[in-house]
Amino acid sequence: MAQHRYVYLMLLPVMLYYLIFHYFPMVGVLIAFKDYSIRYTFWENIFNDSWVGLKHFQAYFQSFYFARTFGNTLIINLYGLIFTFPAPIILALLLNEVRGMRFKKAVQSITYLPHFISMVVIAGLVIDFTSSDGLINTIIEALGGESIQFLVQPEWFRTVYILSAIWQEIGWGSIIYLAALAGVDAQLYEAAVIDGAGRWKQTLHVTLPSIAPTIIILLIMKIGQMMNVGVEKILLLYQPTTYETADVISSYVYRRGLLESEYSFSTAVDLFNSIVNFILLVSANKISKMLTETSLW
């Protein structure tokens, strides 16, 4: 031990950070099974004996908001899985077919850019471009259509959310696949050409199988985040008229917990969310291990 004392000394502040800011809150979820009282300090609330069992969970499951927030969380994520997830893979495959290196590099540099722009600005752009005198409605009207209030009508919220997510992340998301594509052995392509495979067949039989492990790992990670809709973007884009489709568990927890100070109830809702999320992650990992021998652990 003595010979490693400096290593432990270095790790001390790091472990303290994780203890205080990550593991203390995990203990803190106990307030989901209590009635948090502002008369006591946080730790008194944790360690006193005022258990209320699953009261808050029941209240959530029986409320009108359960179906809405749980459903919206699942649907937005499902759309993400169907539309947002494959977009960077497709871009990487298309970029892989480009022979002009300069053109390829330029497309890459430009499409990475939106990843670094703040969500506040992204939301500001979305609001501006979808407004009644914004670009999108100008185009719709020029084509003879009728102006749409995209951020006021609930049926448009998910479309706006998903399309803007693709716009922001398609380029950055493709990096990891391009890295995997660069590692594909050129001999595999040569062999495929000798066998008479065209480019489409090469993509299908050489390129895709080569990047499949990367796709699977990222898919598991994505499913492991299934229930975590980025609350920031929702809060920046939704409004009461679109709650019907836009209000997800995390935005609901934010309103009930941090704006209305219902600490125990909102912690229960959030804990339910975390548990579902964790189950999804473990299952996705297990299924992938069985089917493809690729897994996170």
Binding site: M1, H4, V7, Y8, L11, P13, V14, M15, Y17, Y18, I20, F21, Y23, F24, P25, M26, G28, V29, I31, F42, L91, L94, E97, V98, F103, V107, I110, L113, P114, F116, I117, S118, G124, L125, F129, S131, D133, G134, L135, I136, N137, G171, I175, I176, A179, A186, Y189, E190, V193, M221, G224, V231, L235, G257, L258, S266, T267, D270, S274, F278
Partner: protein
Amino acid sequence: MGMVVKRTPGQKVFDVGNHIFLLFLVVITLYPCVYVLAASFSDPNEVMRSGGMLLWPKDFQTETYGLVLQNRMIFVGYKNTLFYVVVGTAINLILTILGAYGLSRKNVPGVGVMMLLITFTMFFRGGMVPEFLINRSLGLYDNRWAVILPYAMSVYNLIIMRTFFANIPASLEESAKIDGANDFVILFKIFVPLAVPSIAVVGLYYGVGHWNSYMRALIYLRDRELFPLQVVLREILLQNQNEALQSATDTSFAYAENLKYATIVVSTVPILCVYPFLQRFFVKGVMIGAVKG
């Protein structure tokens, strides 16, 4: 692919289509940036009449930027954001470097367990409300540390740095050990100088994160004098959205409406300025992280 194969007509059609599609992607990525920049320098009435279509300033003016300079909250936000970026990133880097070195010592008992405990936090969290209550009970509420200390490390960046440290040849370290160097000397005299590029990558990840962060301040800050730029920007954007519902006739209102474009420009330009130089380092960071996933 480096092979020269005769292209069939079908492939030629595909190539043309592919290039057109990628160009379209470039255009829709760049257009919002061009539009905002053009709008911020245009006459506000022209912007309103443009229907979202501007490639170049119409009736060029710089008055809007004069309004930005006069706006006290934008100045306050800028100053605060600089503080959060500089101090926050410094703390991030110190802890990440120490952690990455410690966690790359796989022969030290307990390190494996510690890594497991840290990785677990990526997949399971206590949640927004317990985090808020604990931070507040520690005095991390409505002051500058509240938006810095709870975000002092990210597992993802720690893994990037650790992977880099793990790849440094052991021979360098062994010869230093023979000379009697302790772990602190090895870290700061050997590892850190070798890791400057990856420290830059990780520092920039953290820095951009601080620059762009909005939720932290929304949750933890009440005092307007502490607000970062993103919160101020959001207020300006919202203010105009609400006022846009009222009749827009007088010119000062029109300029106020235009203020949002200029504020977006002013708050995003620093990111855009460092972007071209650092883009390739960022990409490298993603790849290093990808190895360990």
